[in-house]
Subunit: 209 residues, 2 copies
């Protein structure tokens, strides 16, 4: 059986984004937010995701400015760091995931938390002015909030908080939204994950569609 399908990558993107803009309810977003929301919907394959997206004022500009100034991107999981499209980054930004650092298991045991959370302790030297992308572990987002309770802890420029799942995900994102230690973007509730998080980074990194 012969198969008929679009094989031009640019045409696939254009048609995908046109479909999303025709179907999704994007009216409440400003231009910057809209572009990020469209790409997140695209990654999820799910119109309706936009209902759960919340951007604090100026979040996209804060994150974009930081990337243009060379900020590193700090990721909680390898699926996030691997997904970032390097050629979209404006300043050959470093993409850092410390989860598999050999110090992490001991740190987790000592701190009495998950490896995903403990790994953030190794972010401290990179945290000032960074863009944080948490797309997997609720415990990582809670741990970040705890670190930022300390006024001595360096501040990221922006936080994408999109952990996914059934235990702690909704609560950790509610906690981020309540505390707002930096401009932030969340997907409320259980939805989230690495693909959606990567899509936000890739949209913020470059306006190119």
């Amino acid at each position: 059986m012969p198969y008929s399908y679009e094989t031009d990558g640019a045409a696939i993107y254009a048609e995908s984004f046109a479909t999303i803009r025709a179907e999704a309810d994007l009216a409440r977003f400003d231009r910057d937010e809209e572009q990020v929301a469209v790409r997140m919907i695209h990654a999820a394959g799910m119109v309706g995701l936009e209902k759960h997206a919340r951007f604090s004022p100026g979040m996209v500009a804060a994150a974009r400015d930081a990337l243009e100034a060379g900020a590193p991107i700090l990721c909680d999981a390898r699926m996030v760091s691997e997904g970032v499209t390097r050629k979209r980054l404006p300043a050959a930004n470093e993409v850092i995931c410390t989860l598999h650092d050999p110090q992490v298991p001991d740190l987790a045991a000592r701190l009495g938390t998950t490896r995903s959370a403990a790994a953030l302790e190794l972010w401290r030297p990179h945290l000032a002015g960074s863009v944080v992308a948490i797309g997997n572990a609720p415990t990582a987002l809670f741990h970040l909030l705890e670190m930022l309770e300390d006024p001595e802890c360096p501040r990221p420029a922006a936080i994408i908080g999109c952990p996914v799942g059934f235990v702690g995900a909704a609560e950790s994102k509610d906690a981020l939204w309540a505390a707002q230690p930096a401009p932030c973007l969340i997907i409320e509730g259980r939805l989230g994950g690495s693909a959606i998080t990567v899509a936000a980074i890739n949209a913020i990194a470059s306006r190119a569609e």
Copy 2:
């Protein structure tokens, strides 16, 4: 503000899977399929995903037997290959993603298709008895079906077909389901993606929850 949340990884998994089993409609799955469906719902953060899951008869056993016999796992995207939990694999199975092979851009130009699809040409030496995991590109799944139209092309032992999105995703999965060149698992429609695909592999690789 002090945060109160579960920090024990095993407890988080157990509570997550119990919530999913309480909320999702899993009655139509056999025991093997149920375990895979639960983990896919977990990765998506979405009860209801199970409505879109279709397993061909014996798919999970075919894929598990292949992995136990040492089959490689062939992935269309780095987010898929990075997500596979190596310590769950029964035979230190090779996890292969050819997308960033330097031959791929020329292959794509020559074949007039996407890089995601062209990369599958480099799977040929590994394809016999493999477990295929397509979690991103509809064009990759279509290209696989085209390769398997040739009776000389080696057969994988099982195919996880979960590309995501708005152009070709639903169609490519319908085409896989119609052709069934090997035992297969699909998520019908637009939903899919790397996290869901990785969850299926991780569930098939080990029954441990």
